[in-house]
């Protein structure tokens, strides 16, 4: 199936390229997708091409051939989409396996292996997918609804209970059944209305039943396929994985959106952020994530173009809210929680620690989400005086040593975060100083990441922790804030329990009406801005360095890791 046969795709592609050129012009950034599309239809392509002066040239004829080397910090662990749980593995899997759906840059769902977005039943429980015609795996075998069903079965079907899938909990809870009335149709019935279902579970890479179907559940855990997938469903197929070094992938000629231009895509493992910078400069890698501190060092390199965009990643800290824990009583009072936040100059943290590559957060939803409310009910800005007065009002008076105390208890606690993350280390130091200035004694303590996760999820003897988090495209934030996740094993480490919050979150999950959901999340954000159980410090920016010879990349808030529908469209100007 060549590109030209699918007219829709060609139009979509052109529009995508148009958007890329469009968004480079800052003054047009705010026009939004709708305006862009109108302009596109109105023949603005020629207009923009004519205005090409001053911006990087986009030659419209893509060259076939060549390779791209993408660098990152972690090696992959598995190449099985239903067994993977880490970003690195997911990223490489995303290059080799497509799912039913994918994300657009802004998080909207677009069809991938499915021909269109699924039809939803009136009660919201049934999703009917129609696959594209003539889908093929990399070995030429057709991709059918059986493969889709098989893939999901690995995580929800009791027959495959021994498959160690991290997705089992969610999928077995929400999937009632999957039917395949014909090779092109997949009908998924959910057990209850679950708004994030498509966004969270519609993107898993589809696995080949004809390769894995004959294996027992236990055998699938250790199958060779997981480290050397012989058959793929995505833009690239697997060539080799040299452990600790790189994964090499080659063009999949049977890809539904057309064979990629590139001969090879290589995912290379790098030691640290300095290596990324060095190798972007020397050209050893073509694409790599750039540390905010190295941005300026790379900006001046003529062969590297920088891509920066807001991402649904944020850094926040959480108070211990369980009164039975040592520091719990300190933070029960809302005034204390708010005061500590008022005392933080978060903008200077963004400027100094992240070199300006981030945005102070006013809400627990990322700015990239459609549910984001920019001005919640309580806007906490840097206000040291207010912080002090709040604490005074709450009964915490400064002692002779300058530290506040109430009823003999000092306002003194320990803050933990993971060692090895420079920005988080710096943030704790800044917080320590800022709180010292208002009479609070906070001590930083750096621990290893697995210990931090253990603390947050199960042990929970911390006083205060600082960590970063990555949201998916759906604005549901229950994992962090719903009381049912406050049990050991859940991510509500702060032990935040609030009936109103629970109700809002549950209601928003139970309806598919986006307007209604947006309103509910708005109320939720207002509530959180007042209660501040886990203040968000900032929303990070995603920064990538891309060699100027690489064309066709389209990084966006939801298109940076595994979900990249644009992978196959990448080409290199020198064809090497």
């Amino acid at each position: 199936m060549s590109r030209d046969e699918v007219a829709d795709d060609k139009g979509f592609e052109q529009f995508e390229k148009f958007l890329e050129a469009w968004s480079r012009r800052d003054f047009l950034k705010r026009a939004g997708a709708a305006g862009a599309y109108m302009a596109f239809l109105g023949g603005a392509v020629e207009f923009l091409d004519a205005c090409a002066g001053g911006s990087p040239t986009t030659t419209t004829t893509a060259k076939k051939g060549g390779h791209v080397v993408e660098g990152n910090f972690s090696d992959i662990r598995t190449l099985n989409s239903m067994l993977s749980s880490d970003t690195a593995s997911n990223q490489v899997i995303g290059l080799m396996f497509d799912g039913l759906l994918n994300y657009k840059a802004n998080g909207d769902l677009i069809p991938a292996l499915a021909a269109d977005l699924p039809k939803q039943s009136a009660d919201g429980l049934t999703y009917t997918f129609k696959l594209r015609p003539n889908l093929k795996f990399s070995d030429g075998q057709p991709i059918t609804s059986d493969d889709v069903k098989f893939t999901y079965q690995l995580a929800y079907d009791p027959q495959y209970a021994e498959v160690s899938s991290p997705r089992r909990g969610d999928l077995s809870k929400y999937i009632a059944s999957i039917d395949t009335p014909d090779p092109q149709t997949v009908v998924i019935k959910t057990t209850q209305v679950f708004a994030p279902f498509l966004a969270s579970h519609g993107l898993y890479g589809i696995l080949p039943k004809h390769v894995l179907g004959s294996l027992s559940a236990k055998a699938i855990n250790t199958a060779d396929f997981n480290t050397a997938p012989s058959v793929t469903s995505g833009a690239f197929k697997f060539v080799s994985w040299e452990k600790g070094q790189q994964v090499t992938m080659a063009r999949n000629d049977n890809y539904w959106a057309g064979a990629p231009y590139l001969d090879q895509w290589i995912y290379k493992v790098l030691p640290d952020s300095v290596a990324v910078t060095n190798q972007l400069k020397t050209g050893e890698i073509d694409i790599g994530p750039v540390d905010p501190g190295q941005f300026d060092a790379l900006k001046t390199t003529s062969t590297v173009a920088m891509r920066e965009f807001g991402v649904p990643t944020f850094t926040f800290y959480a108070y211990q809210l369980d009164p039975s824990k040592p520091a719990g009583p300190l933070f029960q009072d809302k005034a204390v929680r708010q005061a500590l936040l008022y005392a933080l100059d978060r903008q200077s943290i963004v400027t100094a620690v992240f070199f300006g590559h981030g945005k102070v957060a006013n809400s627990v939803e990322p700015p990239t989400s459609w549910a984001y409310k920019d001005k919640p009910q309580v806007l906490v800005n840097f206000n040291k005086a207010k912080a002090e007065s709040l604490l005074d009002g709450a009964g915490w008076t400064k002692g002779a040593d300058g530290i506040r105390a109430k009823n003999g208890t000092k306002l003194k606690f320990t803050m933990i975060t993971n060692a090895g993350n420079k920005q988080r280390e710096s943030m704790l130091t800044v917080m320590q100083q800022a709180w010292h200035d208002i009479g609070v004694d906070a001590t930083p303590n750096l621990i290893q990441f697995p210990q931090l996760v253990s603390q947050i999820v199960s042990i929970r003897t911390f006083d205060l922790f600082l960590v970063g988090f990555n949201w998916s495209a759906d604005p549901d934030v229950s994992p962090l804030y719903h009381s049912r996740n406050a049990v050991p094993g859940g991510f509500n480490g702060a032990d935040f329990k609030n009936d109103q919050a629970d109700t809002l979150l549950d209601q928003a999950l139970n309806t598919l009406d986006r307007t209604k959901r947006k309103q509910l999340y708005g109320q939720f954000q207002d509530l959180m801005s007042d209660l501040q159980p886990s203040p968000v410090i900032l929303f990070n920016n995603g920064i990538y360095g891309v060699n100027t010879r690489v064309q066709g990349t389209d990084f966006g808030p939801f298109n940076q890791f595994a979900q990249r529908p644009w992978n196959h469209g990448v080409w290199v100007t020198d064809g090497k």
Binding site: V274, D296, A419, K422, E425, T429
Partner: protein
């Protein structure tokens, strides 16, 4: 990292001292001191280390009088200032004064090194002395223990222990010493074995001197030269180990400054603030160099044959 100590083993200074111990001890030590004093470079190295140690001990004074900054005071408006002016050696990513942090860092780095050496030497000498002196099954058991400790690649052991025990300066010193004592024990045992057969030892035993007295008054002085050399070389080695652990993220944790973690921290700012990397790096280099030079000088002083 195993290098110098094992080289010392092979050099067998004990053998060289063998002839010396029949002379009255007094003059041997005096002679060695004279030889050391004549080695100008060696003396200079030793004095340098002494100066650094003094600065480290007096860190609060220097902070108050010389730089007028505290090591933990941040100033986000002054980040990455180049050397000169108010901040003699510039500031780091949070606006903290580099010179102050280097002075306080000396405290941590040198403190860890000295504590490690002290513990290693004490435990190692005790074990080596007992193993060498008593011999027999005690020797076997103790040496098997030493073998076990030395069989695990040290760096692996450090990594595992640093993950488990929160790396404060004291715990880090103990972690590094937990391997170091083994090498010292082997060294001391070798010395004791070669000295044990000496006539005066046998004579002393025959007149009923107690074991402990024998060990302390007669064996220990003969072992001392080897220990002093090991100590001096050890300081440099341990500074490097601590720096390596800091680089791996397992050593002294920020915001507590140590030369190693300042060096590591500054690496990603190399492109625009090179002084943040070079100052701690130079200090480590100079101190380790001095420790090596001084250690070699002491060894040469105790055994002129090897010069």
């Amino acid at each position: 990292m195993i290098g110098p100590s094992r080289v010392a083993e092979l050099d067998m200074p004990g053998a060289a001292i063998e002839g010396a111990s029949t002379r009255p001890a007094q003059s041997y030590w005096n002679e060695s001191w004279e030889r050391l004093r004549a080695n100008r470079i060696g003396m200079a190295a030793g004095i340098l280390i002494l100066i650094f140690a003094l600065i480290a001990i007096l860190a609060p004074v220097f902070s108050a009088v010389l730089t007028h900054f505290q090591p933990q005071t941040i100033d986000l408006s002054q980040t990455f200032s180049p050397p000169g002016g108010k901040h003699l050696l510039g500031t780091d990513e949070l606006g903290r004064d580099t010179l102050t942090r280097l002075i306080w860092g000396a405290r941590v780095t040198l403190g860890v090194a000295l504590l490690t050496v002290a513990v290693s030497l004490t435990v190692g000498t005790a074990v080596g002395m007992m193993a060498g002196y008593y011999g027999g099954w005690l020797d076997d058991v103790l040496m098997r223990l030493v073998d076990t400790v030395l069989a695990i690649p040290a760096i692996f052991l450090f990594i595992l222990m640093s993950i488990l025990f929160r790396p404060t300066p004291v715990s880090l010193a103990l972690i590094i010493a937990s391997v170091g004592w083994g090498q010292v024990a082997r060294l001391v045992r070798g010395e004791v074995l070669s000295v044990k057969q000496r006539d005066f030892i046998l004579a002393t035993r025959s007149i009923g001197a107690r074991h402990l007295r024998l060990m302390l008054r007669h064996l220990l002085p003969n072992v001392l030269p080897v220990l002093i050399v090991a100590a001096s070389l050890g300081v440099g080695q341990i500074i490097l180990i601590e720096a390596a652990l800091d680089f791996l993220g397992l050593g002294i944790q920020p915001p507590t400054p140590s030369w190693g973690n300042q060096l590591t921290n500054a690496e990603s700012y190399f492109f625009h603030s090179i002084w943040l990397v070079n100052f701690p790096g130079l200090l480590i280099f100079v101190t380790v160099l001095a420790s090596n030079v001084f250690g070699n000088a002491i060894r040469d002083a105790f055994d002129p044959r090897l010069k």
